[in-house]
Amino acid sequence: MTIKERGYTHWDGELRDGRFPWWPITRMGIKLTFKRRFFKLFFGLTLMPALVWLVGIYISERLEDFKFMMEGETDFLNVNPLYFKTYFTNEFLLFMVVMIMVFSGAGLISDDLRHNALQLYFARPLKKRDYLTGKAAVIFFFLLILTLVPGVVFILFKMIFAGNFQFFVSYPWLILSVVAYSLLLTTFFAFYTLLMSSVGKNRRYVSILIFGVYFFSDIFSAIFREIFRSQYFFLLSIKTNLQQIGAVLFRQRTPFNIPWFYSLLVIVAICLFAAYLLKRKVRGVEIIK
């Protein structure tokens, strides 16, 4: 038998399977976002509404002490599910969410496309699913800080300021509403942002797209409503759909006269469409010359 001249050294490494293979992607995404100019300042600003609402909770428990400041109506300081719904579906918060997406989400995939980095990821022990999970987790990180964390903090501080568990006993389902709405909002924006980010290689272009699609959906909704005089055109607006579902989850009256599950269907459809496109767009680089 012929013997080849070369010797083969057996590889003594390990074929490792990490428990959270997506974590390094998330970690890098969060780190790079915080490195962006003005992001820390901006992120601090996005937490302002939460601070205002928290102060509101404090004042609601000390109405007598703050009487000198209050003139007339103090109903808005009633801490109840409506108070929470107002925080979670107010336009300013949704605007801040979109801005956070512009800062932290626009470059998530587009930067990798621009730098041809997908081939570096997929030549490593990383599945496409892990890659997308890692990227989505960056969005979850920022948006849950803006939604879930304040929601839980509001409930906790309401009980701390009141010195009893009455609030929790009165609305035991509220914590579930907070979790459900936060997850829904975050999941939707994760799909939405990743889809936009996978559309182009230019971060600025993607930023405009994230911002533009959200706001133009609202503008087109208003235009079509005026032209066709139909409430169903509310479904064209991303903001309106989220507000509708938010109202239902916090057991409040829906702000618009359309069935809430239509809004849910629109949101789910956008997520499914995004998942389908992401599956097609995020793949190994194919060479055609």
């Binding site: 013997i3 050294t9 057996h10 970690r27 010359k289």
Partner: protein, 327 residues
């Protein structure tokens, strides 16, 4: 025409303890992109050591490398590494290092950050990551520049950093797609030396290039690929011999082409002489380049002919391929 060269093998001294089996095997591997055929029915075996994939641009080299690194899925056929299927076998990717042809950097990161962020994907501990990143940067001689942003790196440094990311996790199989592209001679020498050192450690290295001397400087084992087909595999000397004996055209611009033609035509290794009226040059076709280039300076000196330019229009890989496939 499919030419399969015999692998150069040495008879072993012992009883066969060191018998080598193929590390990478492909079976009827085919890949197409719409109507474009990227790779066509490739069946081959690659063993430990350095193997050069040689072919002109668009021959299917990168497609082949992406298939064996499991980045794209073949339409037909299979790839195995150490007997395991590659496609969707993600844990297997731990033992593969891939250096892509195109630049793939996060420009805002430093070289060190770039390496450590990629090493994290292998689930090493922080200490291991730092150690491996430092080691890889040292190997490619980028230690001094490791804290500079990648965007400020020169072409050669970028190429070396690309190689560093492919070797940092200490893989058994290293796939390098055109690693010498765009490098200056010094940079080339560095990378070639590095690749050769790695071979010495018993690893399997697959290097692609469209430049024959580049591959020649690294290995004797080559695979010739053209239009998505493998049509020669084996020892580079055999391929070299084919190149040496196939008719070559040499173009000479000189002060007296007619006299030179007269002298050349007397020799049997000169098959044909022609005049290119437009360029004013003499075209000589020979089947023995060594004898031809031995005679050339003698004729210049003896006949006092002044030379302006000597070129070999078909001394390139495409010409070799054309010859080998019988065009």
């Amino acid at each position: 025409m499919l030419i399969r060269c015999l692998l150069v093998e040495k008879e072993g001294q012992g009883s066969g303890d060191h018998q080598v089996t193929a590390v990478i095997q492909t079976q009827n591997l085919s890949k197409w992109y719409g109507n474009v055929l990227g790779l066509n029915d490739v069946t081959l075996e690659i063993e430990a050591g350095i193997t050069g994939i040689l072919g002109p641009n668009g021959a299917g080299k990168s497609t082949f490398l992406k298939l064996i690194t499991g980045q794209i899925k073949s339409n037909i056929g299979s790839v195995t590494i150490d007997g395991q299927r590659v496609w969707n076998n993600f844990s297997l990717f731990s033992k593969i290092g891939f250096c892509p042809e195109q630049d793939s950097f996060f420009e805002e990161m430093t070289g060190w950050q770039f390496l450590t962020s990629l090493l994290r994907l292998y689930h090493f501990s922080t200490a291991e990551i730092e150690e491996k990143a430092d080691k890889a940067l040292e190997i490619v001689e980028l230690t001094e520049d490791k804290h500079r942003a990648v965007r400020s790196y020169s072409r050669g440094m970028r190429q070396r950093l690309k190689v560093a990311q492919s070797i940092a996790h200490d893989p058994a199989i290293i796939i390098l797609d055109e690693p010498l592209n765009g490098l200056d001679p010094l940079g080339r020498r560095k990378i070639i030396r590095l690749i050769k050192e790695y071979k010495g450690e018993g690893r399997t290295i697959v290097v692609s290039s469209h430049v024959l001397p580049e591959i020649e400087a690294m290995t004797n084992q080559i695979i010739l690929i053209h239009q998505g087909k493998i049509f020669a595999q084996g020892d580079i000397h055999y391929i070299r011999d084919l190149i040496e004996t196939h008719p070559h055209i040499i173009s000479i611009k000189c002060s007296d082409p007619r006299q030179l033609a007269q002298k050349f035509i007397q020799h049997d290794f000169v098959l044909k002489v022609n005049f290119d009226q437009k360029k004013g040059s003499l075209l000589v076709e020979t089947n023995n380049r060594d004898k031809f280039f031995g005679l050339l300076p003698v004729l210049f000196v003896e006949n006092r002919i002044e030379v302006e330019e000597i070129t070999s229009p078909d001394d390139n890989l495409q010409a070799v391929f054309d010859y080998l496939i019988g065009k």
